[in-house]
């Protein structure tokens, strides 16, 4: 028997049916067709499927879909405010912090979770916070710079 789940996903009321063993990632992608959350490993090692659940950064491949009952899920989709890009998204584009782009939604979600907690991270803090997200294209240089620049911008340091 399928389980009926009600949650808030990217600010919208969402209802879905899932099997007990189905992950949040599978439901997001295959049931709700929200493919903006990516799967790179399915074992919680790459962070491509990162989402924020009730303010906490999680790999959606490691969370059962049934667990989000009554909770709030934010994916990369809700980082932007309608057509207005979040400063992180804008910096990623301006700094070329993505090449193939498949890890990018996960990095943005993880970076936003960091900046929601700490608007003045050191380079080291950014690197360790993002150590759960794999990128094979960029060598992380431009990603780390983008996050640091966005933090400075949000602090009002630079425009």
């Amino acid at each position: 028997m399928k389980r009926h789940v009600v949650a808030t996903i990217d600010g919208e009321h969402a209802e879905f049916l899932c099997d007990d063993g189905q992950t949040l990632l599978d439901v997001l992608r295959d049931v709700l067709h929200r493919t903006g959350t990516k799967e790179g490993c399915g074992t919680g090692d790459c962070g491509a499927c990162s989402v924020i659940v009730d303010g906490r950064l999680v790999c959606s491949c490691l969370m059962l879909a049934a667990e989000v009952e009554g909770r709030e899920v934010e994916t990369a989709i809700s980082i932007s405010n309608g057509d207005t890009l979040h400063p992180l998204q804008r910096r990623f584009l301006e700094d070329a912090a993505l090449q193939c782009g498949v890890c990018t939604p996960g990095f943005l979600v993880a970076a936003k979770a960091l900046l929601d907690r700490n608007l003045d991270p050191s380079e080291s803090e950014v690197r360790f916070w993002l150590a759960g997200n794999l990128c094979r294209c960029t060598g992380y240089d431009k990603i780390v710079r983008s996050v640091l620049e966005t933090a400075a911008e949000l602090r009002g340091g630079t425009g």
């Binding site: 399915g42 990369a76 890009l85």
Partner: protein, 756 residues
């Protein structure tokens, strides 16, 4: 600097055309497609490294509720041996077919031998357990000495080794011998003051793209097949799928998805022919997505190597001779990049006497696939480590030693031709003058440098340029954008047309909508497809001038396209006609204005890169930390500097991982023990420092904007740069990868024992 001023768009850091889609989760990658009534396909894989398939019984799987099709090699045509005509490395369609679906024997752990399509992924997975396979397990070989031993089991009984003299004794499992070079190395060694000879080994490593292979295929009853998949070339996907199914290329349309990384690993197919056959049988669309474990076990890694290098040098730092013997693992089918390894390893140096012999060796591991400058990083590891040792022995600065021998215009490459305009010396000089090279080091820290070479590819490309009704321009090409090539093509189009970058759209068309285009590989898209875009733009400008001439009723020769508008020569007062004017009048002046170009790109600009690496080695644990890194590279001309830097940084990071952590670990049964990102340790953000970049620009005179390919050479210098830095920090020479903490510690302790 005056040269740069003449460009309006080339060299600027614009936002890429596909950027917003990729930061908002809208971009659709291989696994993001779905169709109504779609089935899910899964692959049954061999649990043995080498076994004869005695029988496969699929009846129970087929009878399982929700299973709509099951295939084995019996459901695919047994195709004849034929060299593949697309792709990056030499491939044989028959071998490709046997790799995609084992026939008669399984040749590695993870080798596909059956596939099912079912209504859900879970049913497909459980149906695999219902397929009954009877195996006769055969002895297997995992390393090259074992594979080449006289008593070794043969992977392919019908192997016809190439490159051996008639009557020569050929060891088992060697598919090919190659030899290249010029002069007599022994003469060179006799003239040398110092000779160093060393042997090196490297382990298999994976390209490590974050997106697993994925496709969706729909076969119609009339045998038209549509493929949505992520690859480095949808024309390659079309050709390989059609050939393996024995149908005409015109029946197949391949639609490129966004690609989530490839690095050479997506220059071949694994799933598409299986999904197509499952769809033909079931009559429903079939989606297949690999798990990460399948990616590790069954897709082409860069395989292991064993390399012996001997180099001689005079006291004054002139190299007198060089010789190498390469053994490269091909995996279960012939086709390692040993040829490229042999051609590139000594390529940065002027050598009177140089000879390289190479062997392509079969082992019971997955078939190797291209990985960024395929074959070159291993050769560079060997050569650049020996150069470092020569420099140490001769007490010559390692960059100076390289400069004294650096290839220049006119130098004969080990692979034959003489170099044209190259930037080897300029790259080394920029490396030497970088402040990093003279920065102070702390305790347990060391600095290494290395130089690398890659040919770059030209190959075939097509492009179209349409003037839209509103005067904007659409650039259409046939190459998947793996790291910003839409931006570089749009920049060249804007520059050529003399219009705003924002007026240019850049799109990648499917195989039915643009002329043939070779793969996105060989660092060739900005170079070769860029050349096609420029030609298409020039075609359009010629047409625009003709339209303006028709409107003005003058000879077309009098009209020139300047700064985005048609101007009439000799009549400065005549109001020019811009793109909007001419687009709006197109219907009355001859119809739509569109240009196109299909070409084989000649005049490839070869690439050199040189890196400096600082490490700190923990003497207690052997852990190596890269603390500072600088990459210098000749890009010819950087069309979009940020994405050139990105290639340099990404290649450096992959090379650092290869040097320090990454390796396939096999158990004695031939099963990979670490098929996950947890156990196959790629660099994460906290493992690396910032990677500083310096772009050197020695323009390639045979490209309209001076472009050289930039994607591959950055992975060539990192391994020796890291290894030389570890030597500088510890005093220990290492010859076997990776420099994992236990290996580094063992080296330090052995040196201490010798000292004591």
């Amino acid at each position: 600097m005056s040269e740069e001023a003449k460009f309006r768009w080339i060299g600027t850091r614009v936002v890429r055309p596909d950027g917003v889609d990729k930061v908002t989760g809208r971009a659709t990658y291989g696994a993001d497609f779905a169709l109504p009534d779609m089935l899910w396909g899964r692959v049954l894989r061999s649990p043995h490294a080498h076994a004869r398939i005695l029988s496969v019984d699929t009846s129970r799987a087929l009878a399982h509720d929700g299973v709509e099709a099951v295939i084995t090699s019996q459901d695919l045509p047994d195709i004849p041996s034929e060299e593949a005509f697309v792709g990056e490395q030499p491939t044989n369609f028959r071998e490709l077919s046997h790799n995609v679906m084992a026939r008669g024997k399984v040749l590695y752990h993870g080798h596909a031998l059956a596939a099912v399509a079912a209504t859900t992924p879970e049913i497909a997975a459980s149906a695999l357990d219902l397929i009954e396979v009877d195996y006769e397990v055969l002895p297997h070989v995992l390393d090259m000495p074992a594979a080449m031993a006289a008593s070794a089991p043969s992977l392919h009984r019908d192997l016809e080794p190439a490159g051996f003299a008639a009557g020569a004794t050929v060891p088992p499992n060697v598919s090919r011998r190659i030899e290249l070079g010029h002069g007599e190395p022994d003469q060179g060694f006799a003239a040398a003051d110092v000779v160093v000879e060393r042997e090196f080994t490297t382990k298999p490593v994976h390209q490590g793209y974050i997106e697993p292979h994925a496709c969706l295929v729909q076969a119609n009853p009339d045998d038209d097949i549509t493929i949505w998949s992520s690859s480095q070339g949808h024309f390659m996907v079309r050709a390989y799928t059609a050939k393996l199914l024995g149908i005409e290329l015109s029946k197949v349309r391949a639609i490129p998805a966004e690609i989530g990384g490839g690095f050479g690993g997506k220059t071949t197919v694994y799933l598409e022919p299986l999904a197509a056959q499952l769809s033909r049988i079931s009559g429903r669309p079939v989606k297949m997505v690999m798990s990460r474990e399948e990616v590790f076990r069954a897709t082409g890694p860069a395989l292991g190597t064993r390399i012996r290098v001997k180099m001689g040098c005079k006291q004054d730092g002139r190299l007198t001779g060089a010789e190498a013997v390469l053994h490269y693992e091909a995996g279960a089918f012939p086709g390692s990049p040993v040829q490229a390894g042999a051609m590139t390893m000594f390529a940065p140096y002027e050598l009177e006497h140089v000879r390289v012999t190479g062997y392509d060796v079969l082992v019971n591991k997955p078939k190797t696939a291209a990985y960024r400058a395929p074959g070159a990083p291993m050769g560079a590891f060997a050569v650049e480590t020996v150069i470092d040792e020569l420099a140490e022995k001769l007490e010559i600065d390692p960059i100076e030693l390289r400069l004294r021998n650096a290839a220049r215009k006119g130098t004969q490459a080990p692979f034959g031709p003489r170099y044209r305009e190259i930037g080897c010396v300029e790259t080394l000089e920029a490396l030497r003058s970088h402040p990093h090279y003279t920065a102070p080091l702390g305790p347990n820290q060391g600095r290494g440098v290395a130089l690398g070479f890659w040919f770059n590819a030209g190959m075939q490309s097509s492009a179209g340029l349409n003037v839209n009704e509103d005067g904007s321009v659409s650039v259409i090409s046939g190459n998947p954008d793996i790291g910003g090539s839409r931006a570089s093509l749009a920049l060249m189009a804007a520059e050529e047309m003399g219009i705003d970058y924002e007026k240019v759209g850049a799109w990648i068309a499917d195989t039915a909508s643009i002329g043939f285009s070779d793969i996105t590989g060989g660092s060739r898209v900005t170079f070769a497809t860029g050349m096609a875009v420029v030609e298409a733009a020039r075609d359009v400008k010629r047409q625009l001038c003709e339209r303006a001439a028709a409107i003005w009723e003058v000879e077309p020769e009098r009209v020139k396209w300047v700064e985005g508008e048609a101007r009439l020569e000799g009549e400065p007062d005549r109001e020019p006609l811009g793109l909007v004017d001419l687009a709006q009048r197109a219907a009355r002046t001859g119809g739509p204005i569109s240009g196109r170009a299909s070409l084989t790109a000649r005049g490839v600009g070869m690439a050199f890169g040189a890196h400096i690496c600082d490490v700190e080695v923990d003497p207690e644990t052997g852990r190596v930390e890269v603390i500072r890194y600088t990459a210098v590279q000749d890009a010819g001309r950087a069309i979009h500097p940020s994405y050139v830097e990105g290639q340099m940084q990404g290649g450096a990071a992959q090379g650092i991982g290869w040097a320090l952590n990454e390796e396939y670990v096999y158990d004695e049964d031939g099963k990979m023990c670490n098929p996950s990102f947890l156990d196959y340790r790629m660099p994460v953000a906290s493992d690396l420092p910032m990677i500083d970049t310096v772009i050197v620009e020695v323009p390639n005179p045979r490209h309209p904007y001076g472009v050289r390919g930039v994607g591959e050479v950055p992975i060539v210098p990192p391994i020796p740069a890291v290894v030389n830095a570890v030597h500088a920090a510890t005093g220990v020479r290492y010859f076997d990868l990776p420099l994992s903490p236990p290996r580094v510690l063992a080296g330090i302790e052995a040196a201490a024992d010798r000292g004591a």
